[in-house]
Structures are given as C-alpha cells and as structure tokens.
Symmetry: C2
Subunit: 377 residues, 2 copies
C-alpha cells in the first residue's frame, strides 16, 4: 500500500525522523549523565515506545491508568502515573500493583497523601508516591519553600499504606517561552526547584531517592541535570509545529502528519477544501500565541515537503480549508480534486489522539507498517 492509495484522513508516521529524534534525545541525556523515563501519552503505542526505551532504564511515564494497563500488558513494569491521584482511581492502582506493575502515584496536597496512605492500609500494601513540585506556577504542585512539602513527605514516609519515593516536577511553562535562552533558564529553574525540594525533604530526615524533571523543551535544551535522577519527555519522539516555533526542532524533524485529499476548491476565495477537519487534526491551536501562527497546520505534498506558504486556515468537523498564510493567491489548478496532501500538526499529542493507528513510512510513499494506538481512560 502506498500513501496515495489510502482512504483519508489517515495518520502518517515517518520512521526515520522518529528514530532520529529518539537518538538525539538519548545522546543528549547520556552526555549529561541522566536516564530518560519516556512519557507515553503522546505515542500510546508499544511499537513507538519500544524504540524510545532502547538504552534507557526501562520505566515509563503515563497520563492515564489505561496507558498503565496497556504498557504493563506489553511488558513494562516500572510506571509513573504523573497526574495527581484522584481517590476514585486508587483501587485501580492497587489492582495493577497486585498484578506486579510497579505503579507510582503523584500527590501535591495533604488530603491526597492521606487518601493514598488510608487506601494502602485498607488494602494491605504500601503505595509508592512522588510529591509534585510546582516549578513554574503554570498548573499544579507544591511551591518550593512551602512547608506543606515536609508535611506531605511525613505522611507518605511515616504512615502505613504509603511510601515516599521522591519528587517530580514538569515545567510545562516552557511551552510559552519566547527564546532559547528563556527555555534554558526554565530548565535551570525546573532542576533547581526539584533538587531543592529533594534536599529539603532529606534535611527533614525523609528519603528522596527519585528526583524527576522534564518537558520536551527543557529536556532537549538543558545543559545540566545535576541532582536529577531521571528526565521525562514525550513529544520529542514526534515533535510538532509548537516545538518548531519554540526552536526546539526544525520543521523537517516533525515525524507526524495527517494525510488528506483535496475534495474541492473555492477559487474566488483562494481556498482549497480537503477532507481533514478538526476531527483529524484536532482543535489544538497551540501556535496561535507563537511568533508564527500555523493555523491548523502546515500543508505539505504527499512526500512531506512543505508547500509554499499554505496552511490549514480553518476547519470544521470533517473539512479543512487550505489557504495562503497571508491571504494571497492560491493556484487551485495545481491541486486538482483527488490530490493527496499531508498536514503537519500543531500539537502531536492532540493530533495523534484523534486516530487509532499510525501508517508508518520511511521517507517514501510505501506504508511499511501499521502500528495500532489507543485512546480513552
């Protein structure tokens, strides 16, 4: 099967770009002396994650317990569930641990720590947990310097039913950085927050074996991981237009695209109509706040080569509208009905989530493999 024979829309993954992106992150972190715990929320595919785990300690990061279930069923044992635990999920964690999965949960408040310990006691086991640190103010976690850190640590360490494994932070604010210097500074801030909190726990006599940091921008750009025991990242495998806008990758590093077909034209409006709408591309407009707004994605030919200055300027559920970025003329006759195009995504996690499989190519048009992926909770 070749790309231009597939029913569209369809998700395409370029294997050589994927392997190059994974190798680059592996070499960068190896140089800095730290291992990677890949975040599997972007790929949600064992085929992709096997490549990402090569040469790494073997643990993964998940964003849902369904990811934990799936990857454990595919042989991954060491699993960090990196979203603050809801009490209604604790019995699922208990069940996974009873089957042999070493699932670690995350807490950033006293009530959650108490709920973890209480459920562990009730089920006759110790549930391991990390404490989430808020290194950049963008979402959740305990602020460095907040006494709550020690109080949570004491609950996890001293109460039966829980074990304190360490700290983790995610500098998601790095997605909003405006320069490489700002990302480098954010990476330093992320590291200092996590290492500082680990030291505060240790000074209080509490154990902190794990010091976990990461986001794709900070992981890719950091120049030191001193005091850090593991780095987490997921988007780096595929990259996307948001990462290219940040300068973390180039456009031709992006391994993921959506194959679509021209279904009509509105020549008086300089528009091409395709069959990839927001259902296939996602509603993510992550580049809207960057220096270069990429609409719903950059338009490439079927070989993956970007076309002039064409972007997907708007979408409805199953329609994409392709136009010149600046509203200029588009030679619709160059793109007759039936022409296959490929769209580079704003946000790899969001676009991949709209699909149930990857059509794997290696530079050319031949589909060399179909890799299943999953969604939901």
């Amino acid at each position: 099967m070749k790309l231009d024979e597939l029913a569209t829309p369809a998700l395409v993954l370029d294997r050589s770009r994927l392997e190059r992106n994974i190798a680059r992150m592996r070499e960068h972190l190896a140089r800095l002396g730290v291992g990677l715990r890949p975040h599997v929320k972007t790929a949600k595919s064992i085929d992709v994650v096997r490549l990402a785990l090569a040469g790494q300690p073997g643990g993964i990061t998940v964003s849902t317990l369904k990811e934990a279930e799936y990857f454990f069923a595919h042989g991954v044992r060491d699993i960090l569930y990196a979203v603050g635990i809801a009490p209604n999920k604790l019995d699922h964690v208990v069940a996974l641990r009873r089957q042999g999965a070493d699932v670690t949960v995350l807490v950033d408040n006293i009530a959650a720590a108490q709920a973890v310990a209480a459920r562990g006691r009730a089920r006759g086991m110790d549930l391991p947990a990390l404490i989430e640190i808020d290194s950049d103010g963008h979402r959740s976690g305990v602020r460095p310097g907040d006494d709550t850190l020690i109080r949570i640590g004491a609950i996890l360490d001293m109460e039966r039913g829980a074990t304190l494994r360490g700290v983790m932070t995610h500098a998601g604010g790095s997605y909003d950085c405006k320069s490489m210097g700002a990302i480098l500074a954010m990476a330093g801030q992320e590291r200092v927050a996590a290492v500082g909190c680990a030291e505060a726990l240790r000074r209080a006599g509490l154990p902190c074996p794990v010091v976990s940091v990461g986001s794709t921008p900070t992981a890719a750009c950091a120049d030191s991981f001193e005091g850090v025991t593991e780095v987490r990242a997921g988007v780096y495998m595929f990259f996307d237009l948001v990462m290219a806008g940040l300068g973390v990758c180039r456009i031709d590093d992006i391994a993921l695209s959506v194959l679509t077909t021209v279904i009509g034209h509105q020549p008086r409006k300089n528009r091409i109509i395709t069959d990839a709408g927001w259902m296939a591309l996602s509603r993510d407009r992550g580049t809207a706040k960057q220096w270069r707004d990429q609409g719903y994605g950059v338009v490439c030919d079927v070989h993956g080569v970007p076309l002039d200055d064409l972007i997907v300027s708007d979408t409805s559920q199953e329609h994409g509208i392709v136009a010149d970025r600046g509203g200029g003329a588009v030679d619709c006759a160059r793109f007759p009905v039936g022409t296959p195009l490929r769209i580079l995504p704003n946000h790899a996690c969001a676009t991949a989530a709209q699909h149930s499989r990857y059509h794997v190519v290696d530079g050319g048009l031949a589909v060399e493999a179909v890799w299943e992926r999953f969604g939901g909770w």
Copy 2:
C-alpha cells in the same frame, strides 16, 4: 453504579434532556411540514439515533463512511454522506451500495461529478449524488447563480454511472450569528439558496427531487421550509454552550457533560485542579468568539447544577484548571480532593468525540445504561 462512584473522566448523558430536545425539534419540524434526516456525527451511537429517528422518514446524514458502515450494520439503509466525496472513497461507497445501503454522495465541482460517474460506470452501477450549494460563503459548495450548477447537474443526470438526486446546503455560518434575528435571516437565506438552485436545475430540464437544508441553529429557528424536502441537524440532540450562547437552547437543555474529580488546589491563585483536561473536554473553544466566553466549559456539581461562576479556565492533556470566570475568589475548601464535578461542553460534537461511551442518567446520580459510541474513519 452511581456517578460519584465512576472512574473519571467520564462522559455523562442526561436521558430526559436528550428526549426533550429530540421531541422539541420533532414537533417544530412537524408544525412546519418537513421531515428530519438526523446528522449522526454528534452522537455516533445507535441508542441515541434510534430516539432521534422516531417519527421521522428513517434516513440519516453521516460525516464519515465509518458512520455509514456502523449505522447500516444497525439497520439504517438511507444514508447521505454529506462531505464532498474524495475519489479514494468511491469504492467504499460502491461496496456499501452492493450490500444494500442506499448511500448518496455529495459533489460541488465538475471534477468530482466526473469522478463519481466514471467510477459508477467502471463498477456497473449508478451512484446517486446531491450537489452542494454554498448558501453562506463559509466553506464549500456551488454559489447560487453560478453556471457550474447546471454543468454538474448535467454530468450527474446524463452520464452513465451517476444519478442526480438533488441539492443540499449547510448554513454553518449560523454558528457565528449574533442574534436570533440573524439566525432567522440565515435560515431564510439557506432555504432560498437551496430552493432557488433546485428550481434552476428544474428549469434546465434536470430532476431535483431532494432539497436538503440544515444546521442546528437554522433548523431550530426557521419559520418556513417551503420548497424544502428534508432538514438535517445533529447537535440539537445534546445541545452545548455554543448553542446556548446563540440563544438556540438554555443551559439546562444541555444533555451532555464530562464527569471529573477534584485532584488538588492552588488556593493562592483561586484555582481548583481536576482530572478532566483537553483530552476529556476537547480543545474546542467555540464560545471564545461569543458574547460570553465559557472557557473550556461551565462547572456544575455532580447533579448537573451550575456552580456560581466557575468555568474551566485552562486545560492541559489530563488536567483541568477551574477558576472564577472573572478571576475572583474561589472557596477551595468547598471542593475537597475527591469532589465530583460535571463540565458542560462548548461543542457537543468535539467533546463526545473524545469518549467511547455515554453514561446515561435520568436526572439523578444512578447510571441507568452505558451506551457505546465510536470514532475514527
């Protein structure tokens, strides 16, 4: 099972609101003497669509051939595929028709009409098609008054391999209307465009048995369907915040919500953190351009009652940030870790698409049924 015992996030559907919304549209269209061809792209569930088809002619509208496959397998035969046909999908349409599905395709240009006729000839059948009319300039279709209409009609009617079934238009521009008067005017414009093009085809000696119009706002508000043979709508079954912002429904007509759990707080920032991020809510921000921006959704208690002025102000993949709409104080102590909340969606199609099942309630907390839904192509 009760809502406050479910693992979160989870999609909730209120059956009595669903039935009320369906009954209201049925009665409105019956008064105006026209039948409904429900658009199943919102629900993607036979359980929902069975309710919508009661008292209707029996045909449906689909946005993907996977929808056509699924609903045909569940006994629906008359299927309009209302996205301009891509040549790579024609053999799928042929296969469905050979199995007995009466699938009609859509074209808005000469090349597509020729492709339909050529494929029909090659496969030894006549493929029925509608011509798409652009009644509002928002996306695709032939503009009323454009000679192309007659040329497309002649190809479909006269060439072997195709059959001209009529015209259809979708006034998607109604989503951007600023008043009920503007929606009523848009409904008139939609009707006049379709009926006018049907008459133009008939004047040219071409058949036009089907005159199909519709969008939820225009279907719900129109005061005449004279000359129209069928109306299409899908969102009206569930409604959503965009429709409420347009005045097409009230907040308490919205039948769909996402159940989530409080996982933490950032009291100094007046924020509550939940486990429903954009993966559960979708990235749709359809109310951002309306008079009342609802963020990523309106926050309700577990019974579905809106809470003060709380909205989901931001999301990441599996985290929601709940805040006061105006940035005011939030009493985090009222919402301890573990509290279940329900989020009303901006756009029912986009939010439902992130889930694989509906948890059906009927006003109370008891989950009375679980209805499967599907996605993909």
